[in-house]
């Protein structure tokens, strides 16, 4: 079967046929695609930013169908890297083609992994998403430059969001009802970094590179940057430690 397919693959990008559906994560900066090191963008908080790195972990995709059934993607983390398009597709193998009314997923890595020693694959510490001096994964990392940071070397800003211990756990479950049910094979999940960075003025937001209260605030902001493309930007998120239903 593969042998038959190989000759029609060009340029090394051979899509492996899969039964099921996809989530396409689309890193955006406002209305534009997010280009790493690209032109400056003015955030809703009126900061001019240029993003030099943007990576975050997602897992646990769940589709909620109109007929009240659900689909759970297989366990496993995916590291979305705004610079690597190959990392943007999240396969949902054998997901039925029924109308989706809501999607949920998790941003970040759970405490078991953060306490589990040296892990492999997308969790390999060599990927630079693991802290050294205080064990645990960095759930999401965004770095860039902005004139709103005149005091910083090269006007750099950096948010490394992580920490698995209460009360400052930073893993977030995002739950998004769709305005219109969708039967599309591929759902586009927009990650609007402009929303995240625009949640507050950079001048009033010091870099976050350690777990703690500030990281938890940033975790809420990054969880709020997602929306399903073509849908109203109505979304909910909750801390996974919270016992409350999505509010």
């Amino acid at each position: 079967m593969l042998v038959l397919l190989l000759p029609i693959c060009v340029g090394g990008a051979c899509p492996v046929p899969m039964v099921g559906r996809w989530i396409e994560v689309l890193p955006m900066l406002g209305d534009d695609h997010l280009y790493i090191g690209g032109l400056p963008f003015r955030t809703p908080a009126d900061d001019e930013v240029s993003v030099t790195e943007c990576r975050f972990y997602v897992s646990g995709f769940t589709l909620f169908f109109a007929d009240s059934t659900t689909y759970h993607a297989p366990a496993g983390y995916q590291l979305i890297d705004a610079e690597k398009k190959a990392s943007w597709s999240v396969p949902l193998p054998y997901a039925p083609m029924k109308a989706v009314v809501a999607v949920s997923f998790v941003v970040g890595v759970d405490s078991a992994a953060s306490m589990g020693g040296a892990l492999g694959g997308p969790l390999d510490p060599a990927l630079g998403m693991y802290w050294a001096w205080q064990s645990g994964y960095i759930n999401a990392k965004i770095e860039g430059i902005s004139p709103s940071r005149p005091a910083a070397a090269r006007h750099r800003f950096a948010f490394h969001i992580g920490g698995y211990a209460a009360p400052y756990a930073t893993r977030r479950t995002v739950w998004m009802p769709l305005a219109r049910p969708s039967e599309a094979k591929s759902l586009t999940l927009v990650a609007d970094v402009g929303q995240w960075l625009g949640a507050a003025p950079l001048a009033a937001t010091p870099d976050v590179l350690v777990p703690g209260a500030a990281a938890a605030v940033q975790a809420d902001r990054l969880a709020a940057m997602f929306r399903i493309e073509g849908d109203t930007p109505k979304k909910f998120f909750s801390s996974t430690l919270s016992v409350d239903a999505p509010h």
Partner: protein, 366 residues
């Protein structure tokens, strides 16, 4: 000065020889070095469990997640002794963790890394790590596997990145072969495998063959002098609540009354927990091989064991987090300090300090 040092080495070597004769060979000959050729996969994958000394608790480290094999331990040893892990290829793990000094950095209050950069803390003796629930003077590291990320990436130590180390190792045919032997034929070096191999080596650094251990086990001829016996009794009454036998630590974090260093400004455990109650608290270190692991304390401020005892004799810096056991402690007399030191010297484990399994690997070792 040099003469004194050489004398010490000679005495050490003499003790070592006596020790080997008296205690017999290490119990796990399969793991002793490069004697067994690993070209045979069966030999490479042979299990190499750590020693479980009689009467000790079970190790905390979950060996089911990282089963020790002969090839994995040898690979870990190669990595431990390889300066290529540092950014400029000058510093290895062993630079600050020398076997002869109980796997710590003798004569250095705080350790130095590449370019002679100074850190802020005294390197900890690597001993009985499989039993430790957390690592570092501040307990910031929660698993033995990920501990090496600190010295690897700290600018004052090896100033490197794990990804860079992985790239370098993948360029080495010798290392690719070692990784294949250690990880079921997988010759692609990953960060995970580097860390797992290092943990296979460091988890095996078990010190349990000191004179104290022989005395506790009623080994023939393992008698204590009256001073050592008095020291043991004193130790159990005055020190063992924190330095709990048989590991000689309870792995807690405590403020032992050291005046804070105004230059280093090290808050200890509070740097991790951000709790004022943890201010100036540091890990209670194991006392095994304490004779060799000078200098002492988290910042290496005491060069001699008698300075340590003098500190515990009652000159505590008063602060809100000073450990309650020290607030009410009766002073230690000069005789008591001497007897305690006599006892502490029985914690030296010459076999551990010279065990060929832990030594610098022969250049041809696979």
């Amino acid at each position: 000065m040099h003469l004194t040092k050489q004398h010490l080495l000679l005495v050490g070597a003499a003790i070592t020889l006596l020790g080997v004769v008296a205690f017999g060979p290490p119990p796990d000959p399969a793991d002793r070095g490069a004697e067994i050729p690993l070209s045979n996969p069966a030999a490479a994958e042979q299990a190499a469990p750590i020693e479980q000394p009689a009467g000790w608790p079970k190790p905390r480290y979950d060996f089911a997640q990282n089963p020790r094999t002969v090839a994995g331990v040898r690979l870990g040893r190669h990595l431990f002794y390889d300066p290529a892990l540092s950014r400029d290829g000058t510093v290895s793990c062993a630079s600050c963790h020398l076997q002869a000094t109980g796997f710590t950095h003798v004569d250095h209050a705080v350790s130095h890394g590449i370019d002679g950069r100074l850190g802020t803390r005294n390197s900890i003796a690597l001993v009985n790590l499989a039993w430790a629930p957390s690592f570092h003077w501040d307990g910031g590291v929660n698993h033995l596997d990920v501990q090496p990320l600190n010295p690897l990436t700290n600018p004052a130590e090896m100033d490197n990145a794990l990804a860079t180390v992985v790239t370098g190792l993948n360029r080495s045919a010798a290392y690719r072969a070692r990784f294949a032997r250690a990880f079921r034929g997988d010759s692609v070096v990953t960060g995970q495998h580097v860390l797992l191999a290092l943990a296979q080596f460091t988890s095996g650094l078990v010190s349990y063959r000191s004179r104290y251990d022989r005395y506790i086990r009623h080994a023939p001829g393992a008698d204590f002098t009256p001073s050592e016996l008095t020291g043991l009794t004193l130790f159990r009454a005055r020190c063992a609540s924190c330095h709990r036998e048989p590991l000689f630590t309870d792995y807690s974090f405590r403020n032992n009354g050291l005046a804070p260093d105004s230059l280093l400004r090290d808050a200890g455990r509070a740097g991790i927990t951000h709790k004022s109650a943890d201010s100036l608290r540091f890990r209670v270190p194991s006392l095994r091989n304490i004779e060799r692991t000078a200098p002492y304390m988290h910042d290496g401020r005491f060069r001699r064991l008698r300075d340590v005892l003098h500190h515990y004799a009652g000159s505590f810096h008063q602060s809100p987090t000073l450990d309650p056991t020290l607030r009410t402690a009766a002073p230690l007399s000069a005789d008591e300090q001497k007897d305690l030191i006599a006892f502490l010297l029985t914690l030296t484990d010459p076999e551990f300090l010279t065990d060929p399994r832990f030594a610098y690997p022969a250049p041809a070792a696979d």
